[in-house]
């Protein structure tokens, strides 16, 4: 009898709290780990998928976990406001293509790589940093730090720092340089050229 009561109590508890559990947000760490797992899965069937196959799968995975529109607009800094709506849309589009293509090109197959979580910490302005480690058999480990910010209610990757080198800072410097020296059309042309090259290899 006692057992039965206990059981129904537990059951009741479950029901009472389950909506809460469902409503609970996915943590920043979870977003990173989900993405890394998806990436590894795509690498494992990378050869069979080919570039196009990897691209299509990564397109979903990357857009779900990264805040690409925000990265695209902040990567050109204040010059964003000087662009026409059409140019802004174009930049967002090629930037997102470039990001996915780069993943599809660089993670083409699997040779025993493992991502491990190291730690997480609060960052400035309500962000979080997820520190992870990429182990590649026969090579030195690479540190991957993911800078996370909330977009509405979801954590999104805003930047990745690999062994101290920030992807965002690199791109921002490059784009600023090209924009000021050669202008918007040249920037788009150069990004498109990179996308084509990634696809061709």
């Amino acid at each position: 009898m006692l057992n039965k009561m206990l059981f129904s109590f537990v059951l009741l508890l479950c029901f009472t709290f389950s909506p809460l559990t469902f409503a609970d947000e996915i943590s920043a760490r979870q977003v990173v780990e989900d993405f890394q797992n998806e990436l590894l899965a795509i690498m494992k069937e990378g050869k069979a998928l080919g570039f196009k196959g990897r691209y299509d799968k990564l397109d979903v995975a990357v857009k779900k976990s990264h805040d690409l529109p925000k990265i695209a607009r902040s990567v050109v800094g204040k010059q964003w406001e000087e662009l026409s709506a059409e140019q802004q849309a174009k930049l967002e589009q090629v930037f997102s293509q470039l990001s996915v293509s780069a993943y599809a090109h660089n993670f083409k197959d699997y040779s025993g790589e493992i991502f491990t979580f190291i730690s997480e910490e609060e960052a400035s302005r309500g962000g979080q940093v997820i520190h992870t480690n990429l182990h590649i058999p026969g090579e030195r480990d690479v540190k991957f730090d993911y800078w996370m910010k909330k977009k509405a209610d979801d954590w999104r990757i805003n930047n990745i720092i690999a062994d101290g080198v920030s992807d965002f800072a690199l791109k921002r410097s490059e784009y600023a340089s090209v924009l000021s020296k050669e202008g918007f059309d040249a920037l788009i042309a150069k990004i498109t050229e990179k996308i084509d090259k990634y696809a061709a290899q």
Binding site: K70, G77, G164, A169, A176, S177
Partner: protein
């Protein structure tokens, strides 16, 4: 979006580190651990409109040096390195790399101590002794297998730890990216490396090995960058800072000003402009040094231009040669030679 790797056999990030630390040889330069110049590390932070940053006042000179090095690599270093990679079996390549890396560990031990990292110093001494004995004069990296991992320390980093400011970014002929602080750092590193004292042939093998190991990184830069000069500069400076801090990330330093604030950026620009015009009035005497530097830059640009002319000629020669080669081969058998496909 991070192009983190040609993961198949080698990781470009690692290669980037390799390329950069070596980059080309005299190496050891450093970025900064000083909060005062942390702002300088990226153009992103300084927000200069042309993408240049305070850290790169000699950009025009550096760019021509960068082009010069690039051509030198295309026409001399890369072909030799490709040939070396092609003919040398894997175990020999890693043996050569391990051998020179082991000799560099002497310098690592010295700098461990100068930076006050005594524990790491003892570890690295053990590493050097193990590899020099059990590892057959350093040909095998036995120490890593035993858990004594390689550390990257050089005199440029030591100077940074001692509080020497980074100074301007510089691209040197053949030697590649460095900073004002990295120049004395590099001289010390060369002096502390036994390879420097054994004569030219060994040095050449060491250089070749360095170039061959940088192949992945160079390919990565080529694939990923839309402005290779800026890409190399930023990656170099950030990686140096990473090495100086021994990989510790400070989450409170805004690495990425993602919430860009237009008003504050405009204010900042106005303030810089005001400061510049004020400085301009004050420092008219400093203009003389500027002018002599400008002259040097012009001279170097000229040198770079004549280099480019030479490169164009080489290109033409190369085309002629390949066409003739193609014909000869075609006469012999109907298939096109692989090398020129």
């Amino acid at each position: 979006m991070f192009h983190a790797g040609r993961l198949k056999c080698s990781n470009p990030v690692i290669h980037c580190t390799l390329l950069i630390s070596f980059t080309l040889l005299a190496g050891g330069c450093a970025s900064t651990s000083q909060p005062a110049d942390q702002n300088n590390s990226t153009a992103a932070k300084t927000g200069n409109k042309d993408g240049s940053s305070n850290v790169d006042p000699y950009e025009s000179f550096n760019r021509s040096m960068f082009r010069f090095n690039d051509h030198l690599d295309d026409y001399i270093a890369k072909p030799i390195s490709d040939a070396y990679l092609w003919v040398t079996p894997g175990f020999l390549k890693s043996g050569v790399t391990n051998f020179f890396s082991n000799l560099k560990d002497i310098n690592v031990v010295l700098n461990d101590h100068m930076q006050g990292k005594f524990g790491q110093g003892i570890e690295d001494t053990g590493r050097f002794l193990t590899n020099s004995t059990v590892g057959v004069l350093g040909l095998f990296d036995v120490a890593s297998e035993l858990g004594l991992n390689k550390h990257e320390e050089d005199f440029g980093q030591t100077l940074a730890v001692w509080g020497v400011p980074q100074g301007a970014y510089l691209v040197l002929p053949i030697l590649g990216p460095t900073t004002a602080r990295g120049v004395p750092g590099g001289v010390f590193d060369v002096a502390a490396n036994p390879t420097s004292y054994v004569g030219m042939p060994v040095n050449l093998v060491s250089m070749l090995n360095t170039r061959a190991n940088a192949e992945g990184a160079l390919k990565f830069i080529d694939e990923a960058s839309i402005d290779p000069y800026v890409f190399t500069r930023e990656a170099f400076l950030q990686n140096q800072k990473h090495l100086i801090n021994d990989g510790k990330v400070d989450a409170n330093v805004e690495v990425q000003p993602l919430e860009y604030d237009i008003d504050s950026e405009v204010d900042e620009m106005a303030a810089t402009r005001k400061a510049q015009s004020a400085a301009g009035e004050k420092n008219s005497s400093a203009n003389n040094t500027d002018r002599s530097l400008d002259n040097a830059v012009i001279a170097l640009n000229n040198a770079s231009q004549s280099m480019e002319e030479a490169v164009t000629k080489l290109d033409k020669l190369n085309k002629k040669h390949s066409r003739r080669h193609f014909k000869v081969k075609n006469r012999g058998n109907a298939t096109a030679p692989k090398a020129y496909q």
